[in-house]
């Protein structure tokens, strides 16, 4: 059992993509489940709080320690098992394997059978364990769902030392708590990913709209088309939105960001863009694309306002375009932090059930304008799960931004929505939305702790109050 005392060279392990920085006394990098178990037992004996870490790409600070011990799982990267099934395959991996490693591995193992895992978040250094713990989603979650829907089982090393393989089918409730439990109760030491057949054909399309109104109309229309084709052989896999301010960031960084260098100039001054992926047999995909083309013309797009590529490798160019949004918004926060380090990310990761897209967009846009704080909006337009990122430029605006975020959360709760979605509550959202977070999450945290973590070393709370 190797435990290292905290020193300067481990600084990178006390912060994540939330840009929060914490502190810890010691760290470990277990390479096996046995080693992780030994370390947990040691920490439980002394009631030392433990923070679990994967790839540290989390944006809510879930992996940021606040004292105690850091257990970083990035050295548990083995592929444990690969097994073909009737309609795909199951791939069992350790939690530290990253998106980048696993994508390669899956192509190698399942290339001939043309299989894939549809959950990958756009952060390529995120780990399998982190994805499961956060119940993350990829850009194609509109069709394929979240991590929970695409993992067959997880291996769970509880804080009290018990070990258990939890199947999605047989122990639904517990599985649903662990996947999405943000590391409460125990460590995910292996995951069985459900690989499914790749679509015969894949088209990636971007529509650039001239006004935000037209963009919202396009999204509403695209949702209707997607709904109508939901059960068809060719379907909409991704329906994502990027607003004008995000497009300005992309434009400004096109030449300097490696990922964006393969993109041509964006059409002049779009007020919003919609990224879509269509999967299925070629003929069906083409027909679906035809319907979207008509819709885009009705919303004022000419052919110059659209980009269309087909094939997995080619589509990557446009996936990078969509993926750049999160990175650039984070980079913008970094710039602001340089002038005032106390400012943190203020992101609404909320879903207002059944609400028209136009209304969600208008709420964010108008109220941010009233307090005069720039707001960058992007995310899953298909399901209405948008991220609205407020960028307050000074302490005063930061306070106003926090209040605005809380007012959105109150409205979201009043409508029966979810105030913390795929990014999890971590530490940042917990602080910002204290008292306004989903009850279901509190229940998950409390149940996992009560059942599996009597010493409370992995305890997660939904409030900053003791």
């Amino acid at each position: 059992m190797k435990i290292y005392q905290m020193e300067e060279k481990y600084r990178q392990f006390i912060g994540d993509e939330s840009r929060l920085t914490g502190y810890c006394d010691s760290l470990s990098f277990p390479e096996t489940e046995d080693e992780a178990a030994e370390i947990l037992a040691h920490m439980a004996a002394s009631k030392t709080p433990v923070t679990l870490q994967g790839g540290l790409t989390g944006v809510t600070g879930g992996a940021v320690p606040q004292g105690g011990h850091v257990m970083n799982l990035s050295r548990m990267t083995k592929v444990l098992h690969y097994e073909k099934t009737k309609d795909g395959a199951l791939l069992t991996v350790e939690p530290g394997a990253t998106v980048l490693d696993l994508k390669k591995e899956i192509r190698g193992l399942a290339g001939k059978n043309r299989l894939f895992w549809p959950v990958w978040p756009t952060a390529e250094t995120a780990s399998a364990g982190g994805i499961a713990a956060n119940n993350s989603r990829g850009i194609c979650s509109y069709h394929y769902g979240d991590a929970r829907a695409n993992i067959a089982s997880v291996r769970f090393l509880a804080a009290d030392g018990r070990r258990k393989t939890v199947s999605a089918r047989e122990e639904r409730e517990l599985f649903g708590q662990i996947v999405g439990g943000e590391g409460a109760g125990g460590v995910i030491t292996a995951l069985e990913l459900t690989l499914i057949p790749r679509p015969e054909s894949l088209w990636a399309i971007c529509f650039f709209l001239k006004t935000e109104n037209a963009a919202a109309r396009f999204v509403e229309g695209a949702r209707r088309i997607a709904q109508a084709h939901r059960e068809a052989a060719a379907f909409v896999a991704a329906l994502e939105y990027l607003d004008g301010p995000v497009l300005v960031l992309i434009k400004a960084n096109r030449a300097s960001m490696a990922k964006l260098r393969d993109l041509p100039e964006l059409p002049a001054d779009p007020a919003g863009a919609v990224y879509m992926e269509l999967h299925g047999p070629e003929d069906g995909v083409e027909e679906l694309a035809g319907e979207l083309l008509e819709l885009s013309a009705d919303c004022g797009c000419t052919d110059e306002d659209t980009w269309a590529l087909s094939g997995e490798a080619e589509a990557e160019r446009l996936q990078h375009f969509r993926g750049a949004a999160s990175e650039l918004v984070n980079a913008r926060i970094d710039e602001i932090k340089r002038t005032d380090p106390a400012i943190t990310k203020l992101t609404a990761d909320m879903t207002f059930p059944g609400e028209p897209f136009t209304d969600t967009l208008t709420r964010y846009r108008k109220s941010a304008a009233i307090v005069d704080i720039p707001c960058y909006i992007y995310g899953h337009a298909g399901t209405g799960s948008l991220y609205a990122n407020l960028m307050p430029e000074n302490a005063e605006k930061y306070e106003a931004g926090k209040q605005l975020l809380r007012s959105w959360a109150r409205e979201c709760q009043a409508r029966g929505g979810t105030t913390a979605g795929e990014y999890g509550v971590g530490k940042l959202t917990k602080n910002l939305l204290d008292g306004l977070l989903p009850e279901a999450k509190r229940e998950i945290f409390e149940t996992l702790t009560a059942e599996w973590d009597p010493a409370g070393i992995l305890r997660k709370k939904l409030t900053t109050h003791p």
Binding site: D262, E265, L292, D305
Partner: protein, 267 residues
């Protein structure tokens, strides 16, 4: 001005999907989906921009199996006027020289062209020899690694090209061949309408029977002298000392030097 531009394009295995055969230094192509060679996309983009600026027609050539039609449809979607697929069992297994010969024949069959554009290399073979060899077979001048095209007249163009040590600017008369660097132009992405319309267009199919040289032994495997043992980047030779001599003295020096290199094989 009506420039007639030919662009050579190829489908290659998607690099990021492939694994390398460590012994041979070659890509294991099995089960890897094809993509358009990225350098060729720059060649097509360059041709389209020249057409838009100076007028003319762009014809895309590809040698490959029928599945390469999808590449040519993508070229239509981007704005190519014509596309020609050189296909048939006779062309299978071609090395760089046999590929260049076949393409030179196809271009001649559908020509004449003022300008032939190729990507600097393909990402599967990486030999960067096909462009130059096409020019050689067609007996036209060529410039490699073009990073800018400055001016075009009905008779010539002025370009900047990378050299081993920097850049060189030169004027080259038509007909000529240029191989282009990716920095020359970011390839456009077709609009959705153009993409759907391109799906309905058929590339022209060209077979051995329609080429000026119909001798199948000049193409494909029979026409290829290369046998790949291993692919590696050559080491840069150590700089040699310069000597200055004249006439017989120089000839004797060269002969002796060659003799040393070939261990007496020259004499």
């Amino acid at each position: 001005m009506m420039l007639q531009i030919a662009v050579c394009m190829k489908q290659v295995p998607a690099l990021n999907e492939g694994k390398m055969d460590e012994g041979m230094g070659t890509l294991i192509r099995k089960d890897i989906p094809p993509v358009i060679n990225v350098y060729d996309l720059t060649a097509l983009e360059t041709a389209l921009r020249l057409k838009e600026e100076y007028g003319g027609k762009v014809t895309v050539f590809s040698m490959g199996p029928e599945s390469a039609e999808s590449l040519l449809r993508e070229a239509f979607a981007m704005g190519a006027d014509r596309s020609v697929l050189l296909t048939g069992p006779e062309f299978a297994g071609a090395d760089a020289v046999a590929t260049a010969y076949a393409l030179s024949q196809a271009i001649t069959a559908r020509g004449p062209f003022d300008l032939i554009l190729c990507g600097r290399q393909t990402t599967d073979g990486d030999t960067a020899q096909v462009g130059g060899a096409i020019a050689q077979f067609m007996e036209i001048p060529s410039i490699y690694w073009v990073s800018r095209i400055h001016a075009v007249t009905p008779a010539s163009c002025t370009v900047t090209a990378l050299t081993a040590k920097g850049h060189a600017s030169c004027r080259i008369d038509f007909p000529c061949l240029l191989t282009v660097e990716r920095e020359l132009a970011v390839p456009r992405i077709p609009g959705l309408g153009a993409k759907i319309a391109a799906k309905k267009r058929q590339p022209e199919i060209l077979t051995l029977q329609e080429l000026p040289d119909r001798d199948s032994s000049h193409y494909g495997r029979p026409g290829s002298g290369t046998r790949v043992i291993k692919i590696f980047s050559p080491r840069e030779p150590a700089p040699a000392a310069a000597v200055s001599m004249k006439g017989k003295e120089a000839a004797a020096y060269i002969l002796e030097w060659l003799d040393e290199q070939t261990e007496g094989g020259i004499r």
